[in-house]
């Protein structure tokens, strides 16, 4: 009897592993084919098709695509835009929620509703006026326009999140500091910012990644090649006639690569943040 349940349990384990592995193969298969085919030479692909391992492994397709789109420049564009937005949006969120969450100024609830609505408006409803305004002030096709726009959009979310987090801020700390003669500015810089630094760093990571992945507004705003971000530059090369399959694969590979690196770097923060963000 006992042996039988044990046997049953082992069969269950094996079946479970098979099922989970099958699902994993489905989920990971696209990554695997893109990675393997990016390291193929064009003749190898022509001869053996997309389902074999490269023989020989070659960096040719990747290097060719890299130089063709000036990938280093695109990486720098994406990085500098995302980094600037993340810094500025965290600062702006902190300032806003210092007034709303800590200071509880008059009309706080109304302001918070405005920030929430601002965060959820579809970009489609903002994009044309923003494009028009950017042209008007000479910021069209300028990365600064994208930085300003996403600083505001991300900080609308950050303000909402931080303000609710500040509801639980230790009041005695603020009162003690005020009694000691702290000005409001010192309160912000010396007490509120350091105490909430872990929340701020989670926001930073999210703002950075969200901005990196943005597509619609950067596509509209950054038309010249030299200003484009990684996702835009890679997308606009698709469907160009002189792209063969290994080059196309290499382009997808170079789009995937930074995201995998970020995922490995920030995995902890990400899982923590997603689950915290889901239940506000």
């Amino acid at each position: 009897m006992h042996a039988q349940t044990k046997k049953k349990r082992i069969t269950g384990k094996i079946l479970t592993l098979i099922l989970l592995t099958l699902i994993m193969v489905l989920m990971v298969f696209p990554f695997v084919v893109i990675i393997t085919n990016s390291f193929k030479t064009a003749p190898d692909f022509a001869k053996n098709g997309p389902l074999t391992l490269p023989q020989p492994w070659s960096l040719q397709a990747i290097i060719t695509f890299w130089t063709r789109v000036n990938y280093g420049q695109k990486l720098w564009n994406s990085f500098s835009i995302s980094f600037s937005v993340a810094i500025l949006a965290v600062l702006l969120s902190l300032l806003n929620s210092f007034a709303l969450g800590i200071g509880k100024i008059k009309g706080t609830v109304g302001f918070l509703i405005v920030f929430v609505i601002a965060n959820t408006l579809p970009q489609e409803v903002l994009v044309y006026p923003l494009y028009y305004m950017a042209k008007l002030v000479g910021l069209y096709d300028h990365q600064l326009s994208v930085i300003i726009i996403f600083t505001v959009i991300q900080s609308a979310f950050g303000t909402y999140l931080l303000s609710s987090a500040f509801q639980a801020f230790p009041r005695q700390l603020l009162e003690a500091a005020t009694v000691d003669g702290c000005s409001k500015r010192q309160l912000l810089v010396k007490i509120v910012a350091p105490v909430s630094s872990s929340t701020l760093s989670v926001l930073f990571v999210f703002f950075f990644l969200w901005t990196w992945n943005e597509f619609f507004i950067p596509l509209v705003m950054l038309v010249s090649n030299a200003h484009q971000t990684v996702p835009i530059a890679i997308s606009v090369t698709q469907g160009q006639h002189n792209m063969d399959m290994t080059a196309a694969s290499a382009s997808a590979f170079l789009g995937i690569l930074p995201c995998i690196i970020f995922f490995v770097l920030f995995q902890r923060t990400l899982t923590k943040g997603i689950t915290a963000g889901a239940i506000k």
């Binding site: 384990k13 479970t16 989970l20 699902i23 489905l26 989920m27 990971v28 990554f31 893109i34 085919n37 098709g49 997309p50 389902l51 702006l92 300032l95 806003n96 210092f98 007034a99 709303l100 800590i102 200071g103 509880k104 100024i105 008059k106 302001f111 405005v114 920030f115 601002a118 959820t120 408006l121 579809p122 970009q123 489609e124 409803v125 994009v127 044309y128 006026p129 028009y132 305004m133 726009i149 600083t151 959009i153 609308a156 409001k184 992945n213 619609f216 596509l219 509209v220 835009i232 698709q238 196309a248 382009s251 997808a252 789009g255 995937i256 995201c259 995995q267 899982t271 689950t275 889901a278």
Partner: protein
Amino acid sequence: MRERSKGYGIFLVPGFILLVIVIGIPFLMSLSVSFTKWTGVGKPEFVGLANYRSALADPIFWASFRNNLQLIFAITVIPTFIGLLLSVFLFDYVSDTLGTHTVNFFRTAYYLPQVLPVAIAGIVWGWILNPKQGALNSLLKLFGLGGLAQNWLGNPATALNSVMMIMIWFQIGYPLIIFMAGLQRVDPQVIEAAEVDGANWYQKFRIYVYMIRPELLVVVLTSMIYSLKLFSQIYVLTRGGPGTATMVPSYFAYQNFFEKTRVGYGSTVAMIMTVIIVILEVIFITCQSKMTDEGEY
């Protein structure tokens, strides 16, 4: 109270001014442009509700929303359902029999597509679905199913279904990771009690689902709103085609703005999207506060 809140207002000034410039004014501009005929240059001509009327009579407009409804199926319904089954399975059965390390390993693998920008995910699949040399058709031929091979994205009959499959693949990790976090909250004693009472797997599954209702609500509504804003995968994969087979409201608005220079009409489409999203949000907030009131949150 009033005393304490003095002197804080100044900190809101930069954020609020920027919000008005980047979101407030553009929104009001779009609203007013939606009542005009405008090519983007010269003076907009006021036409009242004409754009809204022509939208309601426009077959492409309706096609875009019909396609969007189907995409909600691929982005919200199916991934949420699979996510529920998988997360309960991993949490209740796999972590007991094979350990938490196994669970974490598979969870990470299933989440992987979510780390990509959607545009890049689209490019990956565009490559796989390439009609002549793509991996999917090659795979079908390898298994002797070459007859099934076809131009997945170029054929009106399969284009939308292909985009839907891609979105299911892309989305599954999102509900999975949120549900798995929610399941941590479930009191093990409740499940043990149910097991003692002889509950079968389906009854236990229903208890779990009941316990993570807040997460369920978040996933359903955020992913529905997300599916209404779908743009980049359509842009890289099909540009709404062939014909209007994969047209979605967001891409339709973009087309009117920047390709057809019908800015007034594009703004109308965008405004209609906004109204739908706001309605969804109101529903969301009402449900959420109802749960809080019931004290079950």
